[in-house]
Symmetry: C2
Subunit: 379 residues, 2 copies
């Protein structure tokens, strides 16, 4: 089901041969009633891939009819030829649907620097669009996978609307592999500005709180479409559902991180403002030394403190706990701490910065020898 759970959407996935024979690699999600309100959040990377640039530009209109997605090729760092490929493949979808090309978005994931096989894709698009059905959500979810070990889908039931979603992203990335992609759909009736506001806020506290290796991809894309098949809904209820859906998809990505052996939640509290709390959480989860200590189940709070100290904080007010066991309090070590076994599986690190109200939560994973081996392999 996933993206086809809400009324007004159909989807499909086929095998075009981009990833090699027998693996689905091209998908489409279509709004049945024509162009609908749409919103997007994309990577901030200046090396953003052609599909990101194209989708961002087309979404300025606040409406979209369909999204064409492929795995096996990121269409990133491909210059003018890559741009033309994004235009041509989405153009094929527009032709099959009989809509303006500007109503079709694109998402790609896979190795950077290789070119899309435009002819192969364009030739299969009519069949792909023709196959799009209510049952096609799961094949679409499968067609966007790269190193993921399983599909990632979600359905959230709101009070009077449904929200569906699919995503790919195994967080620890295969050589050259770019990215997390996610598509959300709802049958709620919402105008584009509201949709954008809700999506931006949800991304900030979910996907943007996932920091597995500090590497910002060229292709990260998140799009939300609203068919309007059911009546209008409360913005706060919709927002809550979007956060819930994004949280679920982000958690699945962390859990599916290749080469990671555990998920660690870093909770930062007591900051002067949320932004500082986020900066601190990010500094901790960016530290290779900290993440190696997570792997070794080593309660090495000195490394956490050193990471915290790269941010504008007063170290004499800092306290650090593992799983609620305090190891460092207001600038000094806590004596005689027993942490045996506490860090052997998923755990929480809490860092309190002082008396402020600002807080943030970052989800990360441990850095393992497997991660390095996996990502050190030649593509």
């Amino acid at each position: 089901m996933s993206v086809t759970a809400p009324d007004g959407f159909v989807a499909a996935g086929v095998d075009v041969g981009i990833k090699g024979p027998g693996r689905l690699d091209l998908a489409v999600v279509v709004a049945e009633d024509g162009a609908v309100p749409a919103a997007g959040v994309f990577t901030q990377n200046r090396a953003a891939a052609a599909p990101v640039v194209l989708s961002r530009r087309r979404l300025a209109a606040g409406r979209a009819r369909a999204i064409l997605l492929n795995s096996g090729c990121a269409n990133a760092a491909t210059g003018e030829r890559g741009w033309k490929a994004a235009e041509a493949t989405t153009g094929a979808v527009a032709a099959a649907l009989g809509c303006p090309p500007t109503e079709v978005l694109a998402m790609s994931t896979g190795p950077i620097g290789s070119y899309l096989d435009v002819d192969a894709i364009a030739a299969r698009v009519p069949e792909l669009v023709g196959q799009a059905t209510k049952e096609g959500g799961s094949t679409a979810a499968e067609a966007i996978l790269t190193t993921d070990s399983r599909t990632k889908t979600v359905v959230v039931n709101g009070p009077n609307f449904i929200l569906g979603g699919m995503a790919k992203g195994a967080a620890m990335l295969r050589p050259d592999m770019a990215t997390m992609l996610a598509v959300l759909t709802t049958d709620a009736s919402v105008e584009a500005p509201t949709l954008q506001r809700v999506l931006t806020e949800a991304a900030a506290v979910t996907f943007n709180s996932l920091n597995v290796d500090g590497c910002e991809s060229t292709n990260d894309s998140l799009v939300l479409l609203a068919s309007g098949r059911v009546g209008s809904v409360s913005e706060s209820e919709l927002g809550e559902s979007v956060v819930k859906a994004c949280s679920a998809l982000a958690a699945e990505m962390a859990a599916d991180a290749e080469g990671a052996s555990k998920t660690v939640r870093i909770l930062v509290t007591g900051a002067a403002e949320d932004l500082l709390a986020r900066q601190v959480g990010r500094a901790i989860s960016d530290s290779a030394l900290v993440r190696a200590s997570f792997y070794g189940a080593d309660p090495n709070w000195g490394r956490i403190l050193a990471a915290v100290g790269t941010c504008p904080v007063d170290v004499n007010q800092v306290s650090i706990s593992y799983q609620s066991v305090s190891v460092f309090r207001s600038g000094s070590p806590v004596a005689h701490v027993e942490l045996e076994g506490l860090l052997d599986s998923d755990f929480v690190v809490q860092v309190d910065l002082g008396p402020g109200q600002g807080r943030a939560e970052i989800i990360t994973t441990d850095l393992t020898p497997e991660y390095v081996r996996f990502n050190g392999e030649r593509s």
Copy 2:
């Protein structure tokens, strides 16, 4: 020789038992003629250790008589008690030398969060100071090592002066271990402001260009003392020698990085200004994905581009080469590149950003499974 090579300095190293029996762990460097012009560069970390805070404060006067150094304990994150330990141990040196305590600096390296054994150190200081000789440079260099596999010393002969130095730092840090420490000495006659200017500039292009795991330590310290035994010298000649000495010590640290299998020089050119070039070099060397690809000898320029893209650059002007072999030129991949064997040992990555004159060079190492295992061990 090292720090005792220039006229006017003596040094010694002894075993106080901080690192366990039989290993030198306490050292002193003394200016024979009393307090001399001195300059320092220290970590920017807000969790700076007590010895860093003390030395920085005392160096405001621009003069120092001696430096007390220890390994086996960073005296970091130790609160008021750590501060008193730094004061008491440097006070013991001052008493032995008959100088004001404010003329004695401190440097510590080792695990964060453990306390210095003040009594043990103070009891041995008179003997340590008494042993300080012209021949003591090498024992001092040995006493500051932690996970280093060998001592790191340098002597540079200027036209009419000598510059000596010692350092510790194996870049890949042992659990909890903090730091690079370095002491430079010269017999040149230089006033403190000039000394500070020369040292700051040299640090920027040497130690601060070494980025092995993006982790800024609580204890990083670099101090330069000038005895003035020979006449005055040209600032540019002194600066050149200081850069040479710092370069040599930084290169030894990179080569001694535990868990690293190769050193990679990242040369960024064509930036609008040096600062941007440095930011790009840092982004590349901060990326775990990039450094894992270095380990695997994988010419994965897509990851380099993604790291470059996190900085404010125009990707369409970016070119990337490995060992002068171009793989990405002005925004597009170069076809049919042969790189076989080129990345198997130390190599250079060149990233050109456009027509600017700004440039920077960053030295880094590969990220290896050994690094993670080494740093994942419990302390």
